[in-house]
């Protein structure tokens, strides 16, 4: 495919465009779903296509096509629709400079899921289903979703960049329903790797591990007591603090969104309590959001969003780096050739503090410990909401009874000042997908963190 794209790019030389970018993709993608033992979807496909982005007279034209025989026509089209937008702009779009790169990134996956038989994958799903079913007799329905991908993507730009990178994905997502009398409840879990192949499912996300993770959460839901409504001192475990880093703060620090948020114009200002550090790191080894380059060819990097409680840096692509006078951080990502690259997070986390884990709970007479979440959403005015599917009461400094479904909310810019203890522990990452018009695989995490009363509101029912 490289040659095909190279020849097409060659023919754009006479186009009066300031920048032409071709992103080709050639890969295998499969999706399997099992509902209560029945295979309800099993589709394997080979996907080939190309995304074309042309910057002409200061505006973008973007065309996506699966018709690789007619790339010239698609490039012409991208050029002409960019020209249609250009006269309406007051200032032309400019791109921050990056070095043109020629590189071929090798896949680190050992066992390509393409070469694993369908029978083995169906067996994996059936085994996971059995583990879940056997965990608790109150489990009544199980849906398992699996997505695997392997292939190559190609980036060629008129500036001379030529990058070939692997596309790897193994992903498993169970959704489990439990019933106790008339009480119905549900929980979900998610594991994925973008660096390992099928070996990840055999060694890490095994049916036993996945099954137990999700089934225990359903059991806790069925056994849980209702949460109170209001604001309480609370402790967020790594999976929930990670999603707060992502939803509550990360989105405000995506440069294309920042201008419409309370972070606008606040670089260099204190935005959080003492000792709060938060980063997005595209280079974190093995991270779900880690790649060597972004989808514009910029090397990924560690972005220190909040350093020593000061808002320090935003996540950018080339366009916004030029616009705000910051470096391109390598955060331009596209879900596939069907979408243009936009600013996305990668591996977002709070950094470790200096509290011993047990000390964090000690001073709380009554509060909540939130251990796992289900979904979250941010708004531009820094309002965030996170659904919590695993939580416990904290009574007199001790973690107590499990709590039924609840959600927490707050205003991120206020809540950051209510952080009063950060553990000095290593932490696991929560792996998931972020939606911003297109899906990106991301991870997030952080050490256990305590918020004083007034930081987080609990949407309980009592």
């Amino acid at each position: 495919m490289f040659d095909l794209l190279e020849r097409a790019l060659e023919r754009t030389r006479d186009l009066k465009a300031s920048y032409v970018e071709l992103r080709g993709e050639d890969g295998f993608i499969e999706y399997l779903q099992m509902d209560d033992g029945r295979i309800s979807a099993l589709t394997q496909r080979i996907e080939r296509g190309c995304a074309i982005r042309v910057l002409a007279d200061g505006a973008w034209g973007f065309v996506t096509t699966g018709d690789l025989e007619n790339l010239d026509g698609a490039i012409e089209d991208a050029y002409s629709i960019a020209k249609a937008a250009a006269p309406t702009r007051k200032e032309p779009i400019e791109l921050a400079e990056i070095n043109a790169v020629r590189d071929k990134v090798k896949s680190s996956a050992k066992e390509d899921p393409r070469n694993v038989s369908v029978e083995e994958k169906v067996d994996y799903l059936q085994d996971t289903m059995n583990v879940i079913r056997d965990y608790d007799e109150r489990i009544t329905a199980v849906t398992l979703k699996m997505r695997n991908a392997s292939g190559e993507k190609f980036l060629l730009t008129s500036e001379g960049t030529r990058i070939q990178s692997p596309v790897n994905l193994v992903w498993i997502y169970p959704w489990v329903t439990g019933k106790d009398g008339t009480r119905l409840s549900a929980a979900r879990y998610e594991e994925a790797s973008t660096h390992q192949g099928w070996e990840f499912m055999k060694e890490t996300a095994t049916p036993e591990f996945i099954g137990e993770q999700v089934a225990k959460r359903v059991k806790l839901q069925l056994d849980g007591v209702p949460a109170k409504g209001g604001s309480f001192p609370c402790v967020m475990g790594p999976r929930v603090i990670g999603v707060l880093a992502h939803e509550a703060l990360g989105h405000l620090a995506e440069a294309d969104l920042t201008v419409n948020t309370p972070f606008n114009g606040r670089i260099g200002e204190v935005v959080a309590a003492e000792d709060v550090n938060m980063i997005d790191d595209g280079t974190y080894p093995g991270g779900l959001g880690t790649t060597k380059y972004d989808d514009e060819g910029t090397p990924t990097s560690r972005v220190e969003i909040i350093k020593d409680s000061v808002l320090t840096e935003l996540m950018t692509n080339r366009e916004y780096a030029a616009k705000i006078g910051q470096r391109p951080t390598g955060n331009a990502r596209a879900e596939s050739y069907l979408y243009p690259p936009i600013i996305r997070m990668r591996n977002t986390m709070f950094e470790k503090g200096d509290y011993v884990y047990d000390e964090i709970f000690e001073d709380i007479d009554f509060g909540y410990y939130c251990a796992d979440f289900r979904g979250g959403q941010a708004q531009m005015n820094a309002s965030f909401q996170v659904g919590v599917q695993e939580a416990y009461e904290i009574v007199n400094g001790e973690v107590g009874r499990p709590v039924m479904d609840l959600s927490i909310s707050g205003i991120a810019t206020d809540a950051l000042f209510k952080i009063d203890a950060i553990a000095k522990e290593d932490f696991p990452f929560e792996l998931g997908r972020c939606g911003k018009g297109q899906t990106a695989y991301v991870s997030s995490g952080g050490p256990t963190i305590r918020f004083s009363k007034g930081g987080i509101t609990f949407g309980g029912k009592e």
């Binding site: 999706y31 029945r38 099993l42 505006a59 997505r147 604001s231 979250g376 820094a382 909310s409 029912k461």
Partner: protein, 451 residues
Amino acid sequence: MIDEKELLDLCDHAVTLGVEKGADQIEAIAQFKSELETEVEQGEVSSVNRIMGNEIAIRVFVEKRMGSAFTNIATKDSVSEAVSLALQAAKAANPDDDFVSLSKPSEYPSIPGLWNDSIITTDPGQVVNEVVEIVKRGASHKDLVPAMASSGANAYLVAYANNNGVRHAEKTSIGYGFLAAIAKTESGVTPMVFAVDIGRGLDIRKEAIVHEVAEILDMCKKEVMGKSGRHTVVFHPRALLQLLQYTLVPSIKGENVARGKSKIGDKIGEQIASEKITLYDDGTHPKGIASSIADDEGVARQKTTVIDRGVLRSFLWDTYWGNRMGVSSTGNASRNMREGLIEIKSTNIVIEPGTRSIENIISDIDYGYYIQNVQGAHSSNPESGDFSIVGNPAILIEDGKKVGQVHGLMVSGNAFDLLKQVGEIAKEPHYLQGIIAPEIVFSDTSIIAKE
């Protein structure tokens, strides 16, 4: 550009070939889509995007074993290859003894106005002009800062065939304009507020979009404190749809009923909501954006009464789950073309209006909240119906007047309880994507205000 008759030829080819090669049942669905959309960032058009392509999905059953395949290349050779892949996948699958049959022929409704030629004849420059005009009019309002905007002209051609003799082709078009904006407040910014006008052609009501955004932002500029407790809450249909999509709607999907995942699965004929609520799923509504002649299994769309004056009357079905439970499909099958999954989906949720205007209703509320939009509806528990969401923007109503926006207002409860707490339904429906409904007033709703 391929036309719908050529797409149907490809489907016929797949079906004939599949039967020849040993499929007991085979269906093919072929789509062509052309989406032209503009993107505005920070008040200026940043990009014009064209997404165009074909999608062809095949599903076969051999001795009750299912296999499926996908290709994005609309040629007979490629479709033949996909049929072979689907047959191969079926060999690896376990037999599904509950499978009865693919869809059977049905009588299709006639729905006027699903297609507007202007969508494909319009020059990209004109689509750009639409959004430029929306932004220009928006920026002329004091304090309104256009954050994002878009306009689009989309065409969808689809064909379906199976070996039970179902053959169908149709085309639909979508034209839309969108504006999202913020305003500065004393302490920061308002939530991002948006409005959309969506129809079949490019006759976008630009002034209506701008007016709606400006009106909501005006309510949000003043920040006020809320009070926890049980209060009257008015839901705008755009907020209500989000809540229903993750609570009531999963419970009326036939698959969830059949699998014991619906809290109201055994409540047909029972009062599950206030008698003020009459709710349909109407895939044939001429003003419904989700309307079409047939669903993704070639089954005729229909109007299904789900709740009649509070009494649960029907669930929504596709062919598989309908057959399995001994009822007919309600034309609610939706197919993820690339992944091969067929799910039951609502089309246009229609709620019958009441008699008084929303202004009159609000003027009678002593203390309550007007929820324009919500955050976190997707984290609700679809099985139990429990929800705990943030109203944003949430407008405080005092003495019949909208007095300002409340930050971080949480609304929590159970969707099935909430449906019984309907105080009143306003008279004018809003025609939104996925719902056609007026504002609904719920009494005695649990509110947790940020302290």
